[in-house]
Symmetry: C2
């Protein structure tokens, strides 16, 4: 059987991590790459990824030319968090009958913020016999798929609390900037109001996916603005120093409300100096379940894993738009990726 | 839409728990019940379940008459751990085109110990347009489905360790007897050799399901015999007292070996006086994942939950034999059970 052929659409930080991993992975090969950045177009992906070798694949400016030159099975798409921005890109892939797995956060459960685009993507995918899935470590796994899975051991579910606490001191610099580490409170608030800091994108999607799995009709979802976490003492790590009184990062909460009760609470915290890093799920129900992953799952590594592990599942799935909860139980794919294809 | 109609096949301890829960549950009704015990046949299930009310359903001696009298959508089957014993029972249900969810431990992943019976069940199910699934809290969830799900956050998986530790002092008396609590060591060994104590049935199935999900070809699976856990001091709980030096319960290990390496280790412990009760999954890989559910999930409640939550998924699935890893991500079903049917 031939290798799975993939187009890498988006060669930013996450797209780069995924591409590097795919280049090492058995059973799959990158046959095309796309990015809009002027300093990347036309370059070999080996150069862009700092691999010290040429891969033989040049970065195209647009997906159409990449699709015309190759016969891809799937595109790994990593350009933006918002479906309004990514819809035309994803649509153009689907129109060629090519499957898509995307890290677009809104696509992980698009029926809430973009129901019309979700409907159109599903129709396009079915028309052109392709499958599309939005996923990643979060949204896509830690605050939704894993939570849903854990509820399956419960006869009754009254309330779900999910917390993710990350020590940003151990993460890459762009992530630290994204959460405002090192800023004054005023600078942080300005960046929030100007939407240069957006907080975590995906809380609304994760709550909606959990509620849909449980057949809960929520009255509303409240996504609070990201708030600064202030460093109580000066903290220093590999790449960053945050003085006491400055912003160490952010925290953000979201709630799903049903019949005047908070039934789903998500609590996201990412700041330099967090002493305990964990992902926890607490289900109040029959039985109650207290689950904790400690330390928390690394965001970038986890996203590479969840996305690549989804590739054979997306190829195996019938045509249409899916979310993680609709596909078979996810798993790692430590062997040759072709072994996970249904035809294998 | 009419209620989902279920036949309760097996009115022992677990079947009784499930039936009680189903009688309270919206969207489903028990339309028939089967058991071979002479003291149950002909009695109303309300009487057998100590409900202090009649339900209007009498316990039949055989499944054929129960199936003839009703038009069931699914049978919940809870008679035995071994597929050799349950095969004719399950086959007779499938032949009527009725779906089956069973707690038969070997059926949770039947391709290893009973590949021929698995093949026949799949063929029968497809011929009669029915679906069959073996599940429960363990095997079915804690030591397999949940483990597989957690691996999906990993790029690489080297080794998996799963541990379940239960304090049998808080469980029902039949469970305490099943694990040998209160026996002398000699009595325990005698019961093991006479197969009155079997240990946990399902370790081989859980290992096989994990390996299959990861496309790992194991060289062998070693299931050790159950060993007694000896009480170091006298322990006493609600229903039982175990003197120091006597058997408090049992522990049992199983290993999956690939290329001379232990790649999957399951460790099951159930004894009176266990101070810490938990379910843990440790994945050595990229990233490594350390997960713990504390306290452990209660076995009976968890099995009721996993089985009932599987009912709509089994009805929704195409015809054939499935294991948990093949079906969509499992979830709780806290609302009317019909809301989880695809047609709903």
């Amino acid at each position: 059987m031939e290798n799975i052929k993939v187009i890498s659409y988006g060669m930013g930080v996450v797209g780069g991590f995924i591409a590097k991993f795919l280049l090492e992975k058995e059973g799959i090969e990158i046959v095309g790459a796309v990015d809009v950045a002027k300093d990347k177009i036309g370059k070999d992906i080996g150069e862009v990824l700092d691999l010290k070798r040429k891969v033989g694949i040049k970065i195209s400016q647009n997906i159409e030319s990449a699709l015309q030159e190759t016969k891809a099975d799937i595109a790994v798409h990593t350009t933006s968090s918002f479906l309004k921005d990514t819809y035309p890109q994803i649509a153009s892939i689907l129109k060629q009958g090519v499957n898509v797995v995307s890290t677009c956060e809104e696509l992980s459960y698009p029926y809430v913020s973009e129901p019309e685009l979700a409907r159109k993507l599903d129709a396009l995918a079915k028309k052109h016999d392709a499958t599309v899935l939005g996923t990643g470590i979060n949204p896509g796994f830690l605050m939704d798929t894993l939570v849903i899975t854990l509820t399956s051991a419960c006869e009754k579910v009254e309330k779900i609390n999910v917390t993710r606490v990350m020590n940003a001191g151990t993460r890459r610099v762009p992530f630290q900037k994204k959460i405002g580490a090192g800023l004054t409170i005023e600078e942080f608030q300005k960046k929030i109001s100007e939407k240069h800091i957006t907080g975590h994108v995906g809380l609304e999607q994760s709550i909606s996916m959990i509620a849909s799995a449980l057949a809960w009709k929520l009255d509303k979802i409240i996504v609070q603005s990201a708030e600064p976490v202030i460093a109580k003492k000066t903290v220093e790590s590999k790449d960053i120093r945050v003085d006491a009184g400055k912003v160490a990062g952010l925290k953000q909460k979201a709630k799903g409300i049903m019949k005047n009760r908070e039934v789903i609470n998500l609590d996201f915290q990412a700041y330099v100096g967090a002493e305990e890093e964990y992902d926890s799920v607490t289900i109040k129900g029959v039985p109650s379940i207290n689950q904790k992953i400690q330390p928390c799952v690394h965001g970038d590594t986890g996203t590479v894993a969840v996305v690549v592990n989804a590739i054979p599942r997306v190829i195996n799935a019938p045509a249409g738009l899916y979310t993680m909860k609709d596909l078979p139980v996810p798993s790692a794919t430590p062997e040759d990726l072709r072994k996970y294809l249904r035809s294998a």
